[in-house]
Amino acid sequence: MVETALLLPPLLSAIILGSLYALMAMGLTLIYSTIRILNFAHGAFFMAGAYIVWWLNTPESATRLFGTMIPVSGLQLPLFVAVIPAVIIIFGAGVVTQKALILPLIRKPNTLITTLVATLALATILESVATVIFGGGRFSYAQELVVGNVRLGELIVTYVEIIQFAVAIGVLLALYLFLKKSRIGIGMRAVAQDLDAASLCGINTQTVYLLTFGIGAALAALAGFLLTNIIFLSPSVGATPLTIAFIVVVFGGIGSVPGTVIASYVVALVQQYVTLLLDPSWGLSFAFILMIAVLIIRPRGLFGFKET
């Protein structure tokens, strides 16, 4: 009988990480279910959001450690303030991407491959720009979001973890309400379910596309900010979250919002318990293995729709 004391911490971590994964993967799912494209630049938006916060928050004194000139705004905005413009800017970047990149390609043939290549190219551009501006070094935020932790019985939870969980869940709930009740939310769901019928109901599908992409990108940026409080920031930081997001949507069924949420927690649980039982480096690999099992048993994922 394994000690419950050993079993609980991974569960706790899984709950927190799972929420963050859900936040990250939700953007991919929304974009796919509404616009029907796969956004390879999702990880780049994650990274860009985190960097903008870093740029707004870090004091100039910190950059001298790196020797070379690394630009900071010098504004030293507190982290929870800096996140707001960061998310807004990336929202805007998402809207621009949809308008400039995706829209022209949707009208032409081979959309799946061309948008894949285009978003991959965009990701490469963003990553290289980040490298040029900030260098390839690994950064952290200059302060901790909140210092301290709390005891829950035998478990210790840091305030940062609580905030990560609360923000992720809060945003996801807000998103749920938005999609369910608000006019634009209903419009987005309508476009996702039947494009022509939505148009005939008076829904401007172009505007819905722009908003959806913007929201998807903004979610990635927020996830980037939250995660950078516990991992290092570098130009390639978006690669692993993107991979995890892919695994999550494959498992949950791309295009399904509930599927994405459930799959996020399952993947996080698998990762945490594998880390406990084996080795941290196997955590991600087991998530892959899980995905292969899904492939064999039910390729479209838990809640996915059949490919038309």
């Binding site: 006019r183 829904i203 599908t205």
Partner: protein, 234 residues
């Protein structure tokens, strides 16, 4: 109300409509008939903005709406109920109806419009929290028409094959409802495959090979030889 002038339209390289012209007056009850594949649905899709005509003009209520995107056309009061109902499958009946009131002017009055629509179609009111994909064929058709009527200012309702896949008794009900809708002053244009149900139309258009082969009053058209030819071959 709705005027098509020499409209040519199609899908990519395939031209389906080869110069269609007709006029539907305000409050009129009109029908488009013809064999499958000859362009009936294409006419509706071009009028409602889902398709852009390659040449010709579409005018509605005096305004040129050629090439206008579908959502704007819907806002003008030209409502297209597409073939096969096309409800949003993962939404409930009520959510579908609310979606129909998306236009800003309609959204403001959505509660009022909802009440109006539930009064007109009491059987769907019972099912308002049911998911659309669980509805029967007849219920779906009804919800689709109701959704179209959720718009604030419906001037002309275009229904593509209201009887498709329905049992005769249900078809009777649908046409009964269409009659009630007409009484409120809304014009109705139906696309029908079978010529049986449209005997009390003001005007019928027979479409063959993407052109208006014949038009006239219900009596003229339904008793003509051309109609026999179009449906049974010569």
């Amino acid at each position: 109300m709705l005027v098509l002038e020499n409209v040519r339209s199609g899908y990519g390289q395939v031209e389906v409509l080869k110069g269609v012209s007709f006029e539907i007056k305000k409050g009129e009850y009109a029908a488009i008939i013809g064999a499958n594949g000859h362009g009936k649905t294409t006419i509706l899709r071009t009028a409602s903005g889902l398709l852009r005509p390659s040449s010709g003009k579409v005018k509605f209520d005096g305004e040129d709406i050629t090439g206008m995107p579908a959502y704007k056309v819907a806002e003008k009061g030209l409502i297209h109920i597409p073939e096969g109902a096309r409800l949003f499958p993962q939404m409930t009946v009520q959510e579908n109806l609310v979606a129909g009131a998306f236009a800003k002017s309609s959204w403001r009055n959505k509660a009022k419009n909802l009440a109006r629509v539930y009064q007109l179609f009491p059987n769907i009111a019972e099912r308002k929290n049911q998911l659309a994909l669980t509805l029967s064929g007849g219920e779906r058709q009804t919800v689709a028409i109701a959704r179209g009527l959720m718009a604030e200012n419906v001037k002309l309702l275009m229904i593509d094959e209201p009887s498709a896949g329905l049992a005769p008794i249900l078809i009777d009900e649908v046409y009964e409802k269409i009659g009630e809708i007409r009484k409120t002053g809304v014009g109705v244009l139906v696309v029908e495959q079978s010529p049986k149900r449209i005997a009390d139309c003001d005007c019928i258009y027979l479409i063959e090979n993407g052109e208006v082969r014949m038009q006239g009053s219900a009596k003229e058209v339904l008793e003509s030889k051309e109609v026999m030819q179009a449906y049974l071959g010569s």
